[in-house]
């Protein structure tokens, strides 16, 4: 057992550090910081600028992708280092829909033409993707989805409604699960995986406001949308297989260990600035104990992730263990966002960035911490709710 980095890994760490230092734009940092402080939405440019820069450097926008598709094909240890360094430097995270989700599906199951058409735009961050999975009646029971695709000549005609489509307001393309065979024996057997251009006539996107007032997710309506048959991934009615493959990829990065670590560091700084019982809050034994509990959980999760990575490098892809990372990772994110809100006392109250108030009140570090807490209730629900993740472990790991 050895967790020390090899000489090459240390060199790689230096390289990543130096690259972030020299290439992460200060204007981007300023733009994102000032919007966050005022609770304003990030623009498409805010979300993709760093992605575009990484895309021009050794395929670093796609750390896991094979080199033949332009990815960096990093080793598990290098991926871990890369994530750590990006989190430490508070780089804007890369939207997962292209890089982590549809990209691997396309290079694994897509044909040559699809790879040529889509992979470069995903890699360089020019094409913005969103995900069309959930429907109003199909959340955890995803396979019950109803959005239909009926073949007419060389097109599918798509009708139905997707929901929780994150960042659909910026998206150029959506990858969708659609029902191509309503009479299949099992609901999973009638599903296909389609790539749809968001500019196609008949698509309507309507915002859904979350409880912190943010606009991240949308409803996406399909009204007789004509999709060329060449946009079908793999085989018709085999979409469920690709969807499951994608979900395993989605979960692998979801632990967010490095970012939670950074957040705890920040909370300690906040708690050193905030006063309680006439002393810095960080001295309050009750608060201290809560921080320590989060740190221990995170420290354990970090090693759980490292153990999973070590298994990955032995050639096994992400398996049902990723459900564990999702459950614990989101648990910790939620504890951390709660602690941050708790740390600022009364200044959890102000809701800035609305049309009613655009000026700061209270300490800058307190801005929108309660919003983040409320927003992050989503974490244990999205990506397969934590209850569904437990079902997966029960079945796949414990054999129940």
């Amino acid at each position: 057992m050895d967790t020390a980095f090899s000489t090459e890994d240390k060199k790689f760490q230096e390289e990543v550090r130096d690259f972030i230092k020299s290439s992460y734009p200060q204007e981007l940092r300023d733009s994102i910081n000032s919007k966050r402080k005022l609770g304003q939405e990030l623009s498409r440019d805010d979300l993709t600028a760093w992605h575009k820069i990484l895309g021009k450097h050794n395929g670093w926008s796609a750390p896991s992708w094979p080199k033949q598709y332009g990815g960096a094909e990093l080793t598990p240890t290098q991926k871990y280092i890369f994530e750590q360094e990006c989190a430490k430097a508070e780089c804007q995270y890369i939207m997962p829909f292209g890089i982590n989700m549809v990209g691997p599906v396309i290079y694994t199951f897509g044909n040559e033409k699809q790879k040529e058409q889509h992979l470069p735009g995903i890699l360089n961050g020019e094409t913005f993707w969103c995900q069309g999975y959930s429907e109003p009646g199909s959340g955890s029971d995803l396979a019950s989805l109803k959005t239909s695709a009926v073949k007419e000549g060389d097109h599918y005609i798509v009708n139905g409604q997707k929901t929780w489509t994150t960042m659909a307001q910026y998206a150029d393309w959506i990858f969708c699960l659609v029902r191509t065979n309503p009479d299949a024996e099992k609901p999973q057997q009638g599903i296909s995986f389609l790539l749809i251009d968001m500019k196609t006539p008949g698509i309507t996107v309507r915002p859904i406001k979350l409880m912190d007032g943010s606009h991240e997710v949308n409803e996406t309506w399909f009204d007789n949308v004509k999709v060329p048959v060449e946009n079908l991934i793999g085989q018709e009615n085999m979409g469920w297989t690709y969807a499951k493959f994608l979900l395993a990829h989605e979960r692998s990065g979801i632990a967010g260990v490095a970012r939670s670590k950074k957040a705890i560091e920040r909370i300690k700084q906040i708690a050193s600035s905030e006063m309680s019982y006439g002393e810095p809050l960080i001295q309050d034994p009750a608060f201290k104990a809560k921080i320590a509990a989060a740190e221990l959980e995170l420290s354990a999760l970090e090693f759980t992730e490292l153990r999973t990575l070590a298994k990955d490098s032995a050639g096994k892809g992400p398996g049902p263990e990723s459900s564990l990372l999702k459950i614990k990772g989101t648990d910790i994110q939620q504890s951390v966002t709660e602690l941050a809100m708790e740390a600022v006392g009364y200044y959890a109250n102000p809701h800035l960035g609305t049309t009613l108030s655009n000026e700061y009140v209270g300490p800058e570090y307190a801005t929108n911490l309660s919003g983040t807490y409320f927003n992050f209730r989503k974490a244990s629900i999205y990506g397969g709710s934590n209850e569904i993740q437990r079902n997966i472990i029960a079945k796949m790991v414990l054999g129940l």
Partner: protein, 392 residues
């Protein structure tokens, strides 16, 4: 970065695993713990033959020069078998003190005797008032010519009834709760002035209260420097704490696996109880607790032990987190076994009791949480107002 065992470690793992399998089936263990001695000398001889008693000692004294990972391997397997022979208190804890503090003469004399199984030292440190503070010592040693006269009382000394020698921590100067002024003495357990009151523990190990009255010890039998033992005690207790955590992780694995099996086999309402989602999710939570416990043990094993602050932080993080896992996973094991969980006859209760007592050993969750926060939450910079918080 890897979490693999070396070839030697795999051999060690296989060896201890087969020892437990061949010599420690449930009935055999029940007979051992019910016996007058509460352990089996024959097993100790076998440990010696297998080289297990030499694992942590340096090669020049006949040991194997084992690393923390090697001790983890031994203790994890001992945990799985609930092995009651006093390996942790005598080989790891007392042996560790002798390795760190002994003079060449002492080490050349004592360590080969430990490795061959002829001597067992145990460390008498706790006192009724000390709780988990290793420095809180009333037992006094007063110099008289070339000798010291020791008077005092030691609590819950594990393995003392089977020991040949004791290492006694006594105060040679300073106040009861001072970290300086503590000295260690090596004494024959049969010396005049030592009275043991032996008893079984709730988890079927053996411990003793030790009354020390006018015990006369030659200054040749001081271990280490006078007044200066505390830092080494803390270090060796940390290493022993990680070993105890390893034992706990072995036990937790048995509890998790046997509870899962039990739920698959136990039928109620015409089907296995594991078909109920409420049971499934509880079993999954047990599995997650186990993985987190194992992970934080690996963190502690691979931490930089040469840096005392890193070692202390890692030890307390692991002991506190594993202590929580012991409670939640252990209590779930009992609950999911239903009535079978609370009876003496079935082994799950024995695993739970041992794990719970490991939770107390060398400091409980609260003690280690406090030690951890004291180490990690002092000297934090106040907020840098130019950067904003990012939590997503």
């Amino acid at each position: 970065m890897n979490f693999d065992f070396t070839e030697e470690q795999t051999l060690l793992d296989n060896m201890v695993t087969s020892f437990v399998r061949d010599n420690y089936d449930w009935d055999t263990r029940c007979n051992i713990v019910k016996s007058e001695e509460g352990w089996k000398e024959e097993n100790w001889k076998q440990f010696a033959e297998l080289g297990l008693l030499g694992v942590p000692f340096e090669e020049q004294y006949g040991g194997l020069g084992g690393k923390p990972t090697d001790l983890m391997i031994v203790m994890e397997q001992f945990g799985k078998g609930l092995v009651v022979e006093p390996y942790l208190p005598s080989v790891i804890l007392a042996g560790g003190l002798i390795s760190k503090l002994g003079t060449e003469t002492q080490k050349n004399e004592i360590i080969p005797e430990i490795i061959s199984g002829h001597r067992r030292y145990v460390f008498a440190y706790a006192e009724p008032q000390s709780r988990f503070d290793l420095f809180d010592i009333k037992t006094s040693a007063t110099q008289k010519n070339e000798n010291y006269i020791i008077n005092g009382f030691k609590s819950v000394v594990f393995g003392a009834s089977s020991a040949t020698h004791l290492i006694i921590a006594a105060r040679t100067s300073d106040d009861q709760r001072s970290k300086s002024g503590i000295t260690l003495f090596l004494v024959d357990v049969k010396s005049d002035g030592i009275t043991l009151q032996n008893y079984p523990t709730i988890d079927e190990y053996r411990a003793s209260e030790v009354v020390i009255e006018n015990l006369n010890v030659s200054s040749e039998n001081i271990l280490g420097t006078v007044n200066d033992a505390y830092d080494t005690i803390e270090e060796v207790v940390d290493i022993s704490t990680i070993a105890a955590c390893s034992e706990a992780v072995g036990i937790l694995q048995v509890l998790k696996d046997s509870t899962t099996e039990y739920c698959k086999n136990r039928k109620q309402f015409g089907q296995p109880i594991s078909k109920n989602q409420v049971i499934q999710h509880r079993l999954v939570d047990m599995m997650i607790e186990y993985e987190q416990a194992k992970s934080i043990l690996y963190m502690a094993i691979t931490a930089d032990h040469s840096n005392s602050e890193e070692r202390q932080k890692a030890t307390s993080a692991a002991k506190a987190r594993i202590g929580k896992a012991i409670k939640s996973l252990g209590e779930s094991s009992i609950q999911l076994h239903g009535g079978m969980g609370v009876v003496d006859e079935y082994n799950v209760s024995h695993y739970f009791k041992r794990a719970t007592m490991i939770g107390v050993l060398f400091g409980n969750v609260d003690y280690h949480m406090k030690r951890y926060t004291d180490l990690t939450q002092s000297n934090i910079d106040t907020f840098d107002k130019d950067s904003s918080i990012s939590l997503s």
